[in-house]
């Protein structure tokens, strides 16, 4: 096969590989369920990144495979050297400038996504998140409950409403990760860390501690329940009633298995 024909064949095969790669990137279920508007933005960013990166990886692999196929040493060439090509300024400028432009384009797009994901909405509710070795608890302030503060060991959120989490740690650093929202931040002792999410899909999704926090780290999980706003109000009311009946001994607050958080809820509801 002539050099020209083999090169054509290689280009065709590489383009085919790029096409298959991109098709596969859509076929594979990379992510768990999308349950927040932020998740949709982040997943779109991921797909754009993958589509931009596949041609680059195919290019590198194709050059290697083509070189192995066409330029490997044949019998009788044991003492042969290649042509003494020391460089090519135009090519070197090209492969400096083009990746730089591509990278800056990708990073600019990622900043747009970041801005969209973090911008302050017109209306939002605040939920406190408290981490301690090895449990989560969630505090709903009076502005959300319309009465006394409410505490829970599972996170309940109304669908379609923006929520700002305010993260507190009682001991070491934890990370509050909701994979279905594609969001996490570290929970740092001594400071309050905040982030926003807008859940937009009903269901129950895992909450994971994603920063090594000690012996029970791998079991420090909880769940977020995204429920309709009316149901959320009903849940708040039921928690208020439960807290009102038995101060400090609300049945679901004790599930947290964290005595200190139970007493906080009890004291606050008086």
């Amino acid at each position: 096969m002539s050099r020209r024909r083999s090169l054509t064949l290689a280009v065709v095969l590489a383009l085919l590989a790029i096409g298959i790669g991109i098709a596969l990137s859509y076929a594979i279920h990379w992510f768990p369920a999308q349950a927040a508007t932020q998740a949709r933005n982040t997943d779109r960013l991921y797909h754009v990144l993958v589509i931009a990166c596949i041609p680059i990886f195919v290019l590198v692999t194709a050059v290697i495979l083509y070189s192995v196929w066409q330029f490997h040493m044949r019998p009788g060439e044991e003492l042969k050297d290649g042509p003494p090509i020391h460089g090519n300024t135009r090519l070197e400028v090209l492969w400096t400038a083009f990746p730089a432009a591509l990278l800056l384009g990708m990073i600019a797009y990622s900043f747009v996504v970041l801005h969209d994901n973090e911008k302050k909405p017109a209306r939002e509710i605040h939920v406190g998140v408290t981490a301690q070795q090895f449990a989560w608890s969630f505090q709903y302030p009076p502005a959300v409950t319309g009465g006394a503060p409410v505490e829970s060991d599972q996170l309940y959120l109304p669908k379609g409403e923006s929520v700002q989490f305010r993260l507190h740690s009682k001991d070491v650093i934890h990370a509050f990760w909701i994979p279905a929202f594609r969001l996490q931040e570290d929970v740092v002792p001594g400071i309050t860390v905040q982030y926003r999410a807008t859940p937009d899909r009903l269901g129950t999704y895992p909450i994971v501690c994603n920063l090594l926090c000690g012996i029970g780290h791998s079991l420090m999980r909880s769940a977020v329940h995204v429920i309709p706003p009316a149901q959320f109000q009903a849940w708040i009311q039921s928690r208020l009633r439960a807290a009102g009946q038995g101060a400090g001994a609300s049945p679901s607050a004790t599930v947290a298995g964290a005595p200190s958080s139970t007493s906080t809820a009890g004291a606050a509801s008086k």
Partner: protein
């Protein structure tokens, strides 16, 4: 016997280490007795004795083994023994267990010791994968598991990847620049002996009460400041490993700057020398920061300081900033020497000059500078000020440009060459593909919203292993095969080498590829147990990883049998032009019987009549010898 106890060596090290324990006992007893501990049992605290011991015993071990002898003699006004190179060369295998100032002996000491820790770290990984094969607890409890992955990472970073590059360069670098040895041979010997000390401390932590240090190699405060005593073994072990790095880096810098052969300008240096020059700059500037971070932890723990106690005015995030200011450049410390190895292998095995040699050198320096501007990309979700993410994300994306230049230059070097597809070349080509994948996932991680999702997940585990295993370890294997004939004077078994490459390459991808998906799906790293929906993929990964572990045995068998009884190698089996191939295998004790003069670039393959170095004629051997045509001096 008395002479043995006085002479430098293991006997003297033994009683001096006992002295170290006695000193720790005495010091803590005096301090506790004088600060109001009244009853006898309060005079003794096991924890205090341990903390002082792990500082004192290693230092006295180094004194005992003879690491400081010359300087002590000088300081005490006793007659010093001038460096007559009597300690040069290894005549028997026992010489490798003594202080030796020959860079070739030290290079082999470094490399073999590092590979020992690779095997230990790999075995620990096998234990972890056995535990992770199924959800729930099977073999080890959560505390032991946390200790396993912490020691795994610490050993492989501080006692394998960083020192093995220093070991290979120790052997080859002086040869490549035409020097008889390193600039500071005694410092070189001392820097090697710090390594086993650091390794013994990290492994020894498994025997500490409360178990090994169990908060990752990152040792984030305040988890580390409240951990059991095993944590101190990490804090102190890092000091010894770090001191070793700094000594070697200084040695490389001075050697490269002052000891190049006549005619070897900076732009005639082989790229491995450039790579180690760049790496050494990184080491010298960055390593003090991790030393500081671990001293902070040690002071918080041992003396009740408040660097990282939020309630007492400490700043928890400060730990991470100081730590990553070293530990990000550290990933380039673990990669740039590998770039150098790949440049050597690809030029020789493609029989072509490196494409864009100067850009290759400049891109190394660009990585050194940019490497110091990206550390907070490890902290996008740490709760630091939000705006810092923006400049750090930009620099993180930009640092991919010089790395991309290198990859494209290697590809262009392959183009139209005459490729020898033997074991070192296969590892170089395998490196190019896996490292490109690791680089791509690294660029993706620079994108803040995506990083916010996968930070600290299994995606990170996949990325870091594509960079450090698919990147660094591939170059290390390639480099060991490439210089094996030079170091041992024998050839390795090519068939076993190819088997080793293919099994490693395939099983590596099967092990670490699926981890990307696990991370995207929401599996956190550093967990002994996981949600049952991740079970199938974890079982698959575990099985692949056991195969990957076994593939290392092919390498071991090949190296051990070839070293003992492989076919004798000629001086220049690859027909390389760089100076190390122009001397016998293994090289003579002082490297060059005649001082070489460098007259051209290091990779002039295909240029008719080109030579890199010529050897001045000696009275005995009249006539001009050329670097290529000259017969090896047997």
């Amino acid at each position: 016997m008395a002479a043995k106890l006085r002479a430098p060596g293991f006997y003297r090290a033994g009683w001096m280490m006992a002295l170290g324990v006695a000193f720790a006992f005495f010091l803590t007893w005096v301090i506790r007795a004088s600060t109001g501990h009244s009853t006898f049992r309060h005079y003794i605290s096991g924890e205090a004795i341990t903390t002082v011991s792990i500082l004192a015993v290693p230092l006295l071990f180094l004194v005992g083994i003879g690491g400081f002898d010359y300087w002590f003699y000088w300081a005490m006004g006793r007659p010093t023994r001038p460096e007559d190179h009597s300690g040069h060369g290894a005549r028997t295998w026992k010489d490798y267990f003594r202080i030796n100032t020959d860079h070739k002996v030290i290079g082999i000491q470094y490399t073999v010791t590092s590979f020992f820790f690779l095997l230990v770290g790999g075995l620990i990984a096998m234990l972890m994968r056995a535990e992770l094969a199924q959800p729930g607890a099977q073999f080890v409890d959560a505390n032991t598991f946390n200790g396993l992955f912490s020691v795994h990472a610490s050993l492989l970073i501080f006692l394998f990847v960083i020192p093995v590059f220093a070991g290979l360069a120790n052997f080859v670098l002086p040869l490549m620049i035409g020097a008889p040895d390193m600039a500071f041979p005694r410092l070189n010997a001392l820097s090697y002996w710090l390594l086993p000390v650091a390794g013994a401390l990290m492994l020894g932590s498994f025997f500490a009460p409360g178990g090994a240090f169990a908060d990752g190699w990152t040792a984030y405060a305040p988890l580390s400041t409240n951990a059991p005593i095993g944590q101190d073994f990490f804090s102190v072990g890092v000091q010894f490993a770090g001191a070793s790095s700094i000594m070697t880096a200084l040695n490389f810098l001075v050697t490269i700057i002052t000891m190049r052969a006549p005619g070897m300008s900076f732009f005639r240096m082989p790229l491995l020398v450039w790579a180690n020059f760049a790496t050494s700059l990184l080491v010298v500037i960055a390593t003090p920061f991790i030393a500081a971070s671990q001293f902070f932890v040690l002071l918080d723990r041992g003396l009740g300081f408040n660097f990282f106690k939020a309630g007492n005015g400490g700043d928890v995030l400060m730990y991470q900033h100081v730590f990553w200011f070293y530990s990000h450049p550290a990933v380039y410390i673990m990669m740039l020497p590998g770039f150098g190895i790949i440049s050597e292998i690809i030029a020789v095995k493609s029989r072509k000059p490196i494409f864009g040699y100067r850009m290759m050198a400049f891109s190394l320096l660009a990585i050194v500078v940019l490497g110091f501007t990206v550390w907070a990309h490890h902290m996008f979700t740490s709760g630091m000020a939000a705006w810092i993410r923006i400049p750090m994300a930009i620099t993180t994306a930009i640092i991919a440009v010089p790395t991309g230049i290198k990859v494209f230059s290697w590809l262009a070097t392959l183009w139209r060459g005459v490729l020898r597809l033997d074991t070192p070349m296969l590892f170089a080509l395998g490196f190019l593909t896996t490292f490109t994948l690791g680089g791509i996932s690294g660029v993706m991680l620079a994108m803040v919203p995506f990083d916010i999702h996968v930070s600290s997940s299994y995606f990170i585990v996949a990325h870091i292993h594509y960079v450090l295993f698919g990147g660094s370890l591939m170059t290390i294997f390639g480099g060991v095969y490439y210089w094996f004939p030079k170091m041992t004077g024998r050839m390795f078994d090519e068939r076993l080498g190819k088997m080793h490459f293919w099994s490693t390459f395939v099983l590596f991808n099967l092990t670490f590829g699926p981890m990307h998906i696990l991370g995207l799906q929401g599996m956190p790293r550093r967990v002994a147990d996981y949600a049952s929906r991740f079970a199938d993929m974890n079982l698959f990964i575990s099985i692949a990883s056991f195969g990957l572990g076994l593939s290392t045995l092919i390498f071991l068998y090949n190296i051990v049998t070839s070293w003992r009884g492989g076919p004798v190698s000629v001086a220049n089996p690859w027909r390389g032009m760089t100076l190390e191939w122009q001397v016998s295998s293994p090289p003579p004790i002082f490297n060059f019987d005649r001082v070489p003069t460098v007259v051209g670039g290091p990779y002039e393959y295909g240029v008719p009549g080109a030579v890199h170095g010529i050897f001045a004629p000696t009275p005995a051997a009249a006539g001009v010898g050329s670097g290529l045509a000259r017969a090896p001096s047997e």
